[in-house]
């Protein structure tokens, strides 16, 4: 199971990568593996929306399950990845790279203190089995 070393992780298996005042959000390899073949992605927020941490940003559906996705951090939506909406299978192939979901911007930076780092997340996943 892959875990990107520099990202932060939520208990709901979302990751966030921070670069200055921009953050990128996606779901982890553990998440895409649990869902198995992903058939549909719905992003329910739009560019310009102001989000609080843990706001719902969409749904990911596979053949056997459907999962709500929440943003781990607060910010304003600056970009939506239409490629992954058009080709949901990207999430199974490259969850940390090409299959990012949304980008946020924030002048005051992002609060990741309540999130897990890569090591903590690895342990979290191992404990779950």
């Amino acid at each position: 199971m892959n875990i990107h070393p520099n990202y932060f992780y939520s208990k709901n298996d979302e990751w966030v990568s921070v670069e200055g005042n921009k953050a990128t959000i996606g779901i982890s390899d553990y998440a895409q593996d649990s869902l198995s073949d992903i058939v549909f992605v719905e992003i329910s927020v739009s560019v310009g929306d102001s989000l609080a941490a843990e706001d719902n940003i969409g749904t990911i559906e596979s053949v056997k399950a459907a999962s709500d996705i929440y943003t781990p951090v607060a910010g304003t939506v600056s970009e939506i990845n239409n490629k992954v909406v058009d080709s949901p299978e990207l999430l199974n192939r490259d969850p940390f790279g090409e299959a990012w979901l949304i980008k946020l911007s924030s002048d005051t930076g992002f609060d990741t203190s309540h999130l897990m780092d890569a090591d903590a997340y690895r342990k979290y996943c191992e404990d779950r089995g």
């Binding site: 073949d37 058939v39 549909f40 559906e61 053949v63 949901p88 299978e89």
Partner: protein
Amino acid sequence: MDATEKTIFELSATGRKGFRFPSPDVPSSDLPESLQRKDLPLPELSEVDVVRHYTRLSRLNYSLDNGMYPLGSCTMKYNPKICEKAARISAFANLHPLQPIESVQGAVLILYEMQIILQEISGFPACSLTPAAGAQGEFGGVKMIAASLRDRGETQRKIMLIPDSAHGTNPASSVMSGFECLAVRTDERGNIDLNDLTSKCNERLAGIMITNPNTLGLFDENIVEVIRIVHQAGGLVYGDGANMNALLGIVKPAELGFDVMHFNLHKTFATPHGGGGPGAGAICCTEQLKAYLPGPIADILEEATEEVPPLYGYRMPEKSIGMLRSFWGHFGIIVRAYCYCMMLGAEGLRRVAEYATLNANYLMEALKQDYPLPYDRTCMHEFVLDVKWPDAPGIRALDVAKRLMDYKFHPPTNYFPLIIHEALMIEPTETESKETLDDFIKAMKTIAREARENPELLHQAPTETPFGRMDEVKAARDLKIAE
């Protein structure tokens, strides 16, 4: 050999005529052109085409008339043919729901009598037959709880407790009535965990939805205590009666303390599943809740005298949650259930529960040697196995299910309840003979052996059926749901 059957659109040929109507016996009237549709893209087939097409399709189906469906929670018992005949009696099938009440007394009588029968079986004093299905029965029952709490001024009670073994319709129905769902743990004996339950009973408790016996097929050893705890905290108790087949004549749920309960006529009362419906539901409840029942409800409007029979009709309960669907209910299904109950009588109903439970325990005893049994105590009408073999780790419940089809059995329910990861929920019902059960046991034991000796047989299964495993990902991704 390809088992595919063409679609009616592929079979269609321009100019082919099927059914013909008589010529009009009145003058033609004009319809304004702006309101006319331009084309009507329906297929054109002859009657022979249609009959052959659907006959061939029917042959691709497994069905109860074909063999056993050991589907836990579904109660796939034999559908008596006399019940089919009953529903087709012209003076039942060819009645308009809005005919003058005097011209349908026989129909309302059946609705009224069926209400009485269900009340007697369940121990409740009131019943509504308007739900179109079990899920509607649930929705209605939960709404009744919501309405009752609102009338009591207790709208802060928003939590509905739901055992972690529950059917998905339970939380879905609760949410649709405005409740928040909170899970209650099942303990190692398969009972509701009393400590967990007690910790979750407070002034925000609206109630609990209980299936008893539960989806593990187990009668809760503390059921009376569970209900008492919830009542004491001010909550109401909803009963999911999907598993009533185990309780007919064995216990009356109302006496255990339930407040409101739904029943599935297409499970316990033998009406056919029709490939997925139509079914029918019923809601029974206590004196305190009966004003909230969905309506209209069949009743005697004028008592019988020496000369005339009673006048049957309808009334809407004073604080009814409303109508769940149009007209009076699934009358066509209720006629079948009524016919079934009249044939069984009190003794026959009790035999159903006795033999359903005997059959389930017989299978459980035979199969627990080969399949892990998470809860090893006398079950009711169904039981759950967990397909977890340390010496065949690659085999999952799905594989066993698929391989059973090669042995000409419909698989049991799998992956439910969620608390057992590789669950096979088995409910034979009382209408299966010892011979059929022995064949099933033999097949299951063979599959357990194949899992170790030749697992590919399971992974590739089914191979003896007209169609093999489906590409479900393709179905969802390349969504094509209409031709």
